[in-house]
Subunit: 330 residues, 2 copies
Amino acid sequence: MAEIRILTESELRQCVGLSRELHDVIAAGFARLADPDVVMPPVLSMDLPAVNGEVDIKTAWLPGVDNFAIKVSPGFFDNPAKGLPSLNGLMVLLDARTGQVAAVMLDNGYLTDMRTAAAGAVAARFLAPEQVHTAGVIGTGLQARLQIEALLLERKVERVLVWGRDAERAERYAAEQSRVLGIPVSVAETAERLVRESQVVITTTPAREPVIRAQWLHPGLHITAMGSDSPLKNELDPQVLGDADVLIVDRLSQSLERGELRTAVSCGVMQAAIELPELSALCAGHHPGRSSQDQVSVCDLTGTGVQDTAIADYALKRALRQGLGASIIS
Amino acid sequence: MAEIRILTESELRQCVGLSRELHDVIAAGFARLADPDVVMPPVLSMDLPAVNGEVDIKTAWLPGVDNFAIKVSPGFFDNPAKGLPSLNGLMVLLDARTGQVAAVMLDNGYLTDMRTAAAGAVAARFLAPEQVHTAGVIGTGLQARLQIEALLLERKVERVLVWGRDAERAERYAAEQSRVLGIPVSVAETAERLVRESQVVITTTPAREPVIRAQWLHPGLHITAMGSDSPLKNELDPQVLGDADVLIVDRLSQSLERGELRTAVSCGVMQAAIELPELSALCAGHHPGRSSQDQVSVCDLTGTGVQDTAIADYALKRALRQGLGASIIS
């Protein structure tokens, strides 16, 4: 018999949103990844071709964090035709010392959206140049919005450029986000123009062929590629990784399997046995991140269980403090 | 926004128990494992040495079954000293066509106990000789009880023998289960005596060294080994597998990794590349199971996601029919 907190998406939206505090929570989670007691198994990935779906399960046990999350992320891509969102899911939170179920967070992917954007912000905190006049985003979906909103909490940005394959969606993004952010957001003519004019670029697409070419790189540019999270996806020309002065990944083993590194290794631009610093090293103070303002830095994010555990533990504490959610005894 | 059913352990106990119907449900689940569209990824196993714990996550998507389960099984072995059970957990049920969360079953491992016992019963249905005078069980815990109760729904058994390392626990088992089952249950002097006198033997221990020797086998014996579910466990002398006339596993890849087969292969008694029939072949009618009354048959059960999906889908339907559980909109 244990008391289990059940939290709905709307309750979670009341207690967790993008903030510097959330970025700190995610950075602290990454910092613990450097601890030898951390346990983060490979993603359990389940392809369901018969229903055009997939399920990813991520988890990480972090020493010193009271609870750990098991995050279930289904993606069912025929859902929109049925009037349902493609992405979905929940997080189960277990007590880190007893394994008892502490909470079930019926977030429909909301916490994943938040922790993904927050990881982008953490990467920018350590890797973006100090002065960011223009931030560019490739893609026009939810993460294209959230990543820029999170970035703006880390750097003072004067304007935003957006580029996407669907020009109409890009126009809509620019119009809406100008209002939301209170700074000019405009559509770049080409991805190349966007990259050349930006100091920070974030790629947020499910592209299977590169959207950024190595020839477009310029001193003082930081790129975060957060779109690729499965072996078929690829947003960066492999030579972008080869040419970067600072190349950081969220988790080396995952990046080699399902991130930009995978393509770079398969093209021979990088070695499979490469040692690269992980975002955890920056968060733990073991790596300086960007060490001069004219370096080109690249961060490849695939999404880790550390982020899920960090945000879910934080969400539970905030929910309890605010008296949100129902308790069930089982 | 979806309607999600939340079911507690006591509600699940009201709608699911051992029965021939449950055995049929588990057998039907196994039968679907022969379908090429089935998706059952390897177990996600998480060892947590810092807190003497582990978490296993199992799942299987079965064509033709409305929902599929993701089952989270934590085992935290310092819990008893804290007044908490070692085993715990829950099942999340997703709609098989949309991935939407259909139910959260806060069963504390109850459904796992039931589906494990039911798989033993299904093995006995196809493999035990028709006449079982004596059934023997090695081990004195919950599965030692449930496996025999489930077996009694499949075969008319005259008496039960029990053997365990702890003689006092074995005596208690015999006294209690005599009352529960309404047939004589007595403690065997030795494991050897138990095996030699039984037509069906079920091993239910976390043993790391064999509890059954090949010399004790005799014509017309069926053994189900359900204890080993991790690489360090081993209940059967490898030669038992080598000498069996009929050797069945629940899932070949799992048995090679975490079942009795693992030890048999590492000792050279079996080949790593061995092809063995799975329980699914018996359930689907593709393998006859026992084909004569004097064969020696052995079934190695490691526990599969198929069982979790089958029992969870069944439990949800029964709970909805009985109006059990709370609905949460999220």
